[in-house]
């Protein structure tokens, strides 16, 4: 069974990679937003620090630069776009082709996601290095934090993927999900720490972020690599990730069961 899955994964990954490669230009154009937005907020906070003699909260220029550059990479690693695609799949009847495959559709979407990221990394990494050279971040994590960063990003990806894939399934009930998606994106921007490090938000919003999955989707790995977390805080973070992954997966399966029953194919 495991071996069978390995084969399927390898084949499908190769396929998705080839498909992505056909859209090279689009891959790079999407990257523009992913790169530009962290730079915008980095610059805003650098200016704020400047106006206060070099520090804002417990960040200085070097750590602000490090925060937003690591944020850029972690956001790239964890973001998904399936909520923007699902509506189209449902309306156009494209879902028929997915439903006849003997595999839960989320597997294929994960592979598509990873294929895009692997391909885009070829541009993202040089850009990140260039920006690091320009903005001079101070990044000096303890060794254990740097090691823990890797599983933290992987778990963050799963946390975010299951949550967003479940939200994407709403397209089966609501015809136009673009308004909902916009609202969700605003939440993500605020509560994953992309607008500002979470410690700069009002107390009430910080507590909300800590209980929601948002903090663990992006901010947690970033702060871990910046060396801002104690081992106890890190353990708590992994626990929250595990909790939200289990919860997210469970709800996703439940929703998928109902959604696929509801689906009446167009064009059949």
């Amino acid at each position: 069974m495991i071996g069978g899955f390995g084969d399927i994964y390898r084949t499908l990954f190769g396929l998705e990679l080839a498909v992505m490669f056909q859209y090279r230009a689009a891959v790079i154009i999407w990257l523009l937003g992913l790169v530009l937005q962290p730079i915008v907020y980095m610059v805003v906070w650098l200016r704020v620090a400047e106006s206060k003699g070099g520090r804002v909260g417990d960040f200085d220029a070097g750590t602000i630069a490090a925060y937003f550059l690591v944020m850029m990479l972690v956001n790239h690693a964890t973001f998904t776009w399936h909520m923007f695609e699902m509506g189209w799949r449902v309306r156009s009847g494209f879902f028929n082709a997915i439903l006849v495959q003997p595999l839960h559709p989320w597997h294929r979407d994960v592979l598509q996601n990873v294929a895009y990221k692997v391909l885009a990394l070829g541009v993202m990494l040089p850009v990140a290095l260039l920006l690091a050279w320009y903005f001079k971040p101070t990044l000096d994590p303890p060794l254990w934090a740097a090691v823990a960063f890797v599983p933290a990003v992987l778990l963050a990806f799963l946390t975010r993927f299951f949550l967003e894939w479940t939200l994407a399934l709403l397209a089966f009930w609501i015809t136009d999900t673009s308004g909902l998606n916009n609202l969700y994106m605003a939440f993500v921007l605020i509560f994953t720490g992309r607008l500002a490090p979470l410690s700069l938000l009002p107390q009430g919003l910080q507590s909300f972020a800590a209980w929601s999955p948002f903090q663990w989707m992006v901010a947690f790995p970033v702060e871990l690599l910046l060396g801002r977390l104690t081992p106890a805080q890190t353990a708590h973070g992994f626990a929250m990730q595990a909790l939200w992954i289990l919860l997210g997966f469970g709800v996703m399966q439940l929703a998928w069961g109902r959604a696929s029953k509801r689906y009446s194919a167009v064009g059949a």
């Binding site: 154009i29 937005q37 308004g179």
Partner: protein, 261 residues
Amino acid sequence: MNILRLLAIFFRLGAMNDLQYRANFWIQLVRTAMDLGFALFAVYIVFAQTDHLNGWTSPELVVLMGVWTLMGGLLGVVVQPSMEKLIEDVRQGTLDFTLTKPEDAQLLVSVSQVRVWRLVDVLVGPLVMGAALAYMGKVAGLREVAAFVVALVAGSAILYSFWLMLSTVAFWFVRIENILMIFHSMYDAARWPVTIYPGWLQALLTFVVPVAFAVTVPAEALVGRLSPAWLVGTVVLAGVLLLVSRLFWNIGVRHYSGASA
């Protein structure tokens, strides 16, 4: 005059079309409120930490957010949907129908689609600007308002020319829907005064994707910190870009081979 007459006709057509879908008005209202709410929240978070951002106070930044909303609406009502239609028409070959009409083709493709509900942004933007100015206790003088209007018109002309040139690329590379994403990413950066960015990014936002002229310059004019030289420069650039885009369009159209012919 011809421009205005055609615009009025297409506007009436678009309005009649959109008025069938009244629920979309509420959807647009919610969307505008969300966009603006997020922008104001960002200003609030930033100014919880400091009292000025590179010389801009918080009400001044709210003025800028208002201009950002207004300009986004102005583009969204007619320029953006028309250009999206143009790209689609080039790809499908349906541009034939436009080219055979006895009016200037550039004019026709520029006003072909109207999204009336985006007028919400055009109305809400000035409200926000007015509220922020009132909060500052500042009555914008005749000079500031005049400079603002000139900058706004010139800024729209610059962005229109830019969209037209971007869309004209479709005559050579047929599949370019994605190219419009470039504009959206850049326009997002224009929520903040471009003067805060490092030199290379400022240059990018000023000369490559000229969103700086569309938002920062009119906002500066309204809060009275725009030098006359910049205003003149903006107007000159608008004139130059209108000419260049017209030229580029003429070359592009000659490359159009149609689908049926």
